[in-house]
Amino acid sequence: MQTHLADWIKDTPEGIAAEAILRKCVHCGFCNATCPTYQLRGDELDGPRGRIYLIKQMLEGEPVSARTGLHLDRCLTCRACETTCPSGVQYGKLVDIGRAVAARKLERPWFDRLQRRVLAGVLPRPWLFAPLVTLGRWFRWLLPASLAAKVPADAPAAGARPPIRHARRMLVLAGCVQPALSPDINAAAARVLDRIGISLVEAEGAGCCGALRFHLDYQADGLQDMRRLIDAWWPLVEQGGIEAIVMTASGCGVTVKEYGHHLAGDPAYRDKAARISAMTRDLSEVLQAERVLLERALETTHETTHETASARLDSRATDKPDARSIAFHPPCTLQHGQQLRGVAEGILSAAGFKLVPVPDAHLCCGSAGTYSLLQPALSSQLQADKVAALQSGDASMILTANIGCQSHLAAAARLPVRHWVVALDERMAEMESFK
C-alpha cells in the first residue's frame, strides 16, 4: 500500500518499522475473515485491514481522536490475522507501534486510566495479586456478578514437586497470576519432565514477563519488567547447564520469545534478550523434541489399553462421555503468536486422549490478557461462542495451554477446564499405577 508517513515519525525507528510493515499490506481483506472482532461487528474499522488503515492514517499525520483509540482497544491482539495474511504482514508489531503513538496523542478518560493503572499495578505482582484473589474468594458475595465470575474457585492442589535430581535442567517461569490461580500447572509440568529425565528449576526473583503492562499502555514499564526477568535469569543462564527456558503459559511464551525484538533498541540488554528469546520454548515444543522419551514413558501394559477400550465401551453404553475425550482450545498466543499448531494436540493423542473436533478453533476465547476486564461486551460474546464450540462435541473436559484462557473459559464452561499438562500428568500417573 502507498504510504506517506509524517515527518515527525518517518525517520524514527518506530516509523521505519511501521512503514516496512504497512508497505507489505496489499489490502486484500483476507485477514478480516478470521478476525474475531470483525466477525462480531462486521465493520471494517473493527477488522485488521481497517485497523492497519487507521494506524496508517495516524502515522501519516491525519487528525486522530478517541475513535481510532476505540478500534485499537477492541483488537484482542490475538494475531489470527497474521496466520491468515499471505503477504506476511506483522500486524502484532504494527499494532504495538500504533498503540504507543495513540497513547502519546490521546488522553484516555479518567476511569479508563484508573482501571488500567490498577490492573497494571496489581496483576504483575504476585505478592499483591495472590492475597487479592483470596480476598475475592472470601468476599465473592459482595462483588458485582461480572467480577465475581472472574474470581476463580479454590485453586486446585498442586501436588508434590519432584526433587531436582537430573543432570538435564530447564528453567521454568512461575509467572505472575498463574501461581495464585492454578499452581498445579507448573507442578505437573515438573513431574512430566522429571519422568523423562529433565528437572525444572525456577529462578529466584523472577516476576512477570512484561506482557501485562506492555499491553496496558505502559510499554516502558513492560520493558522494565522484561529487563528484570532477564536479570533474574541471567546468572543461571551464564552458569551454563540450562538447556532451555520452558513456558507453561503461552501468553508469557510469546512475549519472552520476542524479547529480542522488544529490547533491540537497548544496547545494554539487546544481546541478553536475544539469547533468552532463542532459548525459550513452549512446553509442547520441549515435549515434542523429546517425543521418543515421552512415548517410552507413556508405554503401558496391554491391560491398560484393554481397560481403556472397555471403559470406552461402557461409557457408550451408559451414554456418559468418554473420560479420555477432550476438547482442546489452542490459545491465540500459541497458534498465532508462536505459530505452534497441532503440537500439544499430537502429544495428547499419543497419550491416548481422543480430541473431539472443535469448530472455529482459530478464534480467540475473548480472554486476551486484560481484555476481558476492559472490553467486557465483546469478550463475553467471544467467551460464550467459544464455550459453545468447545462443548458442541462429546468431550468430557476442556484442555488449553494458557492460564488466562483457562480461567476465562472456566468461568463460563459446564465442563472442567484445565491445562493440558495437568491432564497428561494424571494420565501418566494413572498408567504408572497399572505397571
Binding site: M1, K24, H27, G29, F30, N32, E44, L54, R67, G88
Partner: protein, 492 residues
C-alpha cells in the same frame, strides 16, 4: 486519485435523514472512520465516501435506499471489499452501503441441495455450512475465505474449479434484491427454470448497478468422492501453454487447470510451503475429481499428455492434505506477491487458449518497455489471465507506468480476440477499455438496461458502463467510428 473531499452541509442533511432510520453506530461520517472504506482490493484508486452505512437487515437496506433515492444521493454497495476492479470504490457525494453485517445463512436444504443466504455471507462459509451434508458451493474464487456471495453475484466470480463447475451464474438459482427506489425484485427461482426472460443472468455480473442483492439461493453440489491434483513442471512458459491446449484438445475437462510462472511460484512458496518446483519456468496444476476409478484414469491420461508436451517433472498429490497444499499456494498468489513488492496491480483479461504463448511474449516485452516486473497466474483452462504488475506506489511515476502497461495488455487481449475481463469485473479499473471493446450503440443499449432499473442513475453509477463522453476522452477514434476496434475477429 484525488480526493475531492466531502460537502459537509450535504453530509449533515443526509445523515440527519438516515439517523432516524438506523442506530447511530451503523452510520459512519467522521473522516477518520470513513477513510478506511475509501478503497477495495484495488487500493490504488481511493475516494472517501460521504457516509458509510452498515445496515443489519433488509428493512434497513430498504429504508436507506428509499431515503437516498428521495434525496438523489448515489449509493455504492459493498460486500467484503475484496474486489479488484474498484467496483466498490465510494463516491464523495454518495453513501457506501456495506452489506457485511447481513451474514445469516437463512436455510440449507440438503435434499434440494439449495442454501438461501444473506448477501454478506462469505463464499467459504457456505461450503463450511454444507460440509456436514457432503455438499459444497462450487465457485471458489481465490478470495473465497473473505469475499461475500453478494459480491460474487455482482462480479459473476469464478475460481480455480470453474472450468468444470461453472461461474457464479451457473450456480445461483435465485437472487432477491432491492432497486434504488426500494422495490423488491426477484430473479430466477429455486425451481429449474423461471418463466419469462432470464433476468437472473442479467443480474449476475451487473456490478451493483441494477439492484442491491439482499438474498441469494445458491445450488450446492455433492463433494466429489475423491480428488487428486497433478503438479507439472515446464522449462518453458509457452510449452506449458501448449500443454494446456493439449489437455483440452484431448477431450479432458479437468476439475481445475491452472498455471503459474516462475516469478509467481517463487513468491507464493514463501507463504504456502507447498513444495513447488522453484526451478521450473512454469507450473501447471491439473486436477481430476470423481470416483476413485475415474480419477485414476483421468490422472493417467493427463499425465500422458503432459509428458508428451514436454513436462520436465510430474508430481501427483498423495493425500487430500497435499492436494489442498498444492492449491493453497495458488489461492494465496496475489497477496503473497506483497512479500516481493509493496504494490501489485492484478489484471484480468481473457484470450483464446491457443494465443497464450503469444500473449506471454507480449507481456515479457512490456516488462522491458515499462521497467516493471510482471509475474503471471492464469486460470489456464479457460484462458483467463491474471498478470500481476509489480510496482511501488511511493515511487512517483510507477502507478502511471503500471496503468499504461495494463492498458496495453488489455488492448492486446482484445486484439487477440479476447475480452477485458474474465471474472473481476470492469468496475472503475477497466471502464476505458469498455470503449475499445464495445461500439457506441452497444454501450447505449447497456445504459438503456441500467436506466430501466435506475432511471436517475444513482446505484453505483460511475462503474462498468462508460458514458459516451468518457469514451470520447479515452480514445475518440473507437467511438467516432461507431464500430468495434477489430471487427474481423470472432468474439466469445
Amino acid at each position: 486519485m484525488g480526493d475531492p473531499g466531502v460537502n459537509i452541509e450535504r453530509q449533515a442533511q443526509v445523515r440527519a435523514r438516515l439517523a432516524a432510520l438506523l442506530p447511530a453506530e451503523s452510520i459512519l461520517f467522521e473522516r477518520e472512520d470513513t477513510r478506511p472504506y475509501e478503497c477495495d482490493g484495488l487500493s490504488a484508486y481511493r475516494q472517501q465516501p460521504m457516509l458509510v452505512v452498515l445496515p443489519a437487515n433488509e428493512d434497513e437496506v430498504r429504508a436507506v435506499l428509499v431515503a437516498c433515492h428521495d434525496m438523489r444521493v448515489p449509493v455504492v454497495p459493498r460486500g467484503a471489499g475484496t474486489g479488484l476492479s474498484g467496483g466498490a470504490l465510494p463516491m464523495g457525494d454518495g453513501v457506501l452501503l456495506s452489506l457485511a453485517r447481513m451474514k445469516k445463512i437463512l436455510s440449507l436444504d440438503p435434499a434440494a441441495r439449495m442454501a438461501r443466504v444473506q448477501p454478506g455471507v462469505r463464499n467459504l462459509a457456505i461450503s463450511e455450512a454444507a460440509a456436514p451434508y457432503g455438499l459444497y458451493y462450487a465457485p471458489d474464487p481465490s478470495s473465497q475465505i473473505a469475499c461475500t456471495i453478494g459480491g460474487n453475484v455482482a462480479e459473476n466470480s469464478g475460481g480455480v474449479h470453474c472450468l468444470k463447475y461453472g461461474l457464479t451464474v451457473h450456480n445461483v438459482a435465485r437472487v432477491r434484491g432491492l432497486t434504488i427506489a426500494g422495490e423488491v425484485v426477484e430473479f430466477g427461482s429455486e425451481a429449474l427454470d423461471a418463466a419469462g426472460y432470464d433476468l437472473l443472468a442479467l443480474m449476475i455480473g451487473s456490478e451493483g448497478m441494477l439492484a442491491v442483492v439482499t438474498e441469494v439461493s445458491v445450488r450446492l453440489v455433492p463433494k466429489p468422492e475423491t480428488a487428486r491434483c497433478i503438479m507439472a513442471s515446464f522449462d518453458d512458459v509457452e510449452r506449458a501453454g501448449d500443454a494446456v491446449a493439449g489437455i483440452i484438445a484431448a477431450g479432458i475437462i479437468p476439475a481445475g487447470l491452472e498455471m503459474m510462472d516462475q516469478a509467481a511460484t517463487r513468491a507464493v512458496e514463501a507463504f504456502a510451503h507447498a513444495g513447488y518446483d522453484l526451478e521450473a519456468k512454469a507450473l501447471l496444476l491439473c486436477e481430476a475429481d470423481g470416483n476413485p476409478e475415474e480419477v485414476a484414469g483421468e490422472i493417467a491420461r493427463m499425465s500422458e499428455v503432459l509428458q508428451r508436451q514436454g513436462a520436465t517433472a510430474i508430481r501427483v498429490s498423495r493425500s487430500e492434505a497435499e492436494r489442498l497444499l498444492f492449491w493453497a499456494g495458488r489461492k494465496a498468489a496475489f497477496p503473497a506477491v506483497g512479500r516481493i513488492s509493496p504494490d501489485y496491480y492484478c489484471m484480468d483479461g481473457t484470450i483464446p487458449r491457443k494465443r497464450l504463448g503469444e500473449m506471454l511474449r507480449f507481456i515479457a516485452a512490456m516488462e522491458a518497455k515499462y521497467g516493471l516486473r510482471c509475474p503471471n497466474v492464469f486460470h489456464a483452462g479457460d484462458g483467463n489471465l491474471h498478470p500481476l504488475i509489480l510496482f511501488d506506489a511511493n515511487v512517483p511515476d510507477e502507478l502511471h507506468r503500471t496503468e499504461q502497461f495494463a492498458a496495453e495488455v488489455l488492448e492486446k487481449c482484445i486484439a487477440l480476440g479476447g475480452t477485458i475481463t474474465g471474472e473481476h469485473g470492469v468496475g472503475i479499473e477497466k471502464i476505458n477499455q469498455m470503449c475499445v471493446q464495445f461500439s457506441a450503440s452497444e454501450l447505449a443499449l447497456m445504459r438503456g438496461v441500467k436506466a430501466a432499473f435506475d432511471p436517475d442513475g444513482l446505484l453505483n453509477p460511475a462503474k462498468n458502463i462508460p458514458t459516451l463522453h468518457r469514451c470520447a476522452e479515452h480514445g475518440g477514434m473507437h467511438v467516432r467510428a461507431g464500430r468495434l476496434a477489430h471487427p474481423e475477429l470472432p468474439r466469445f
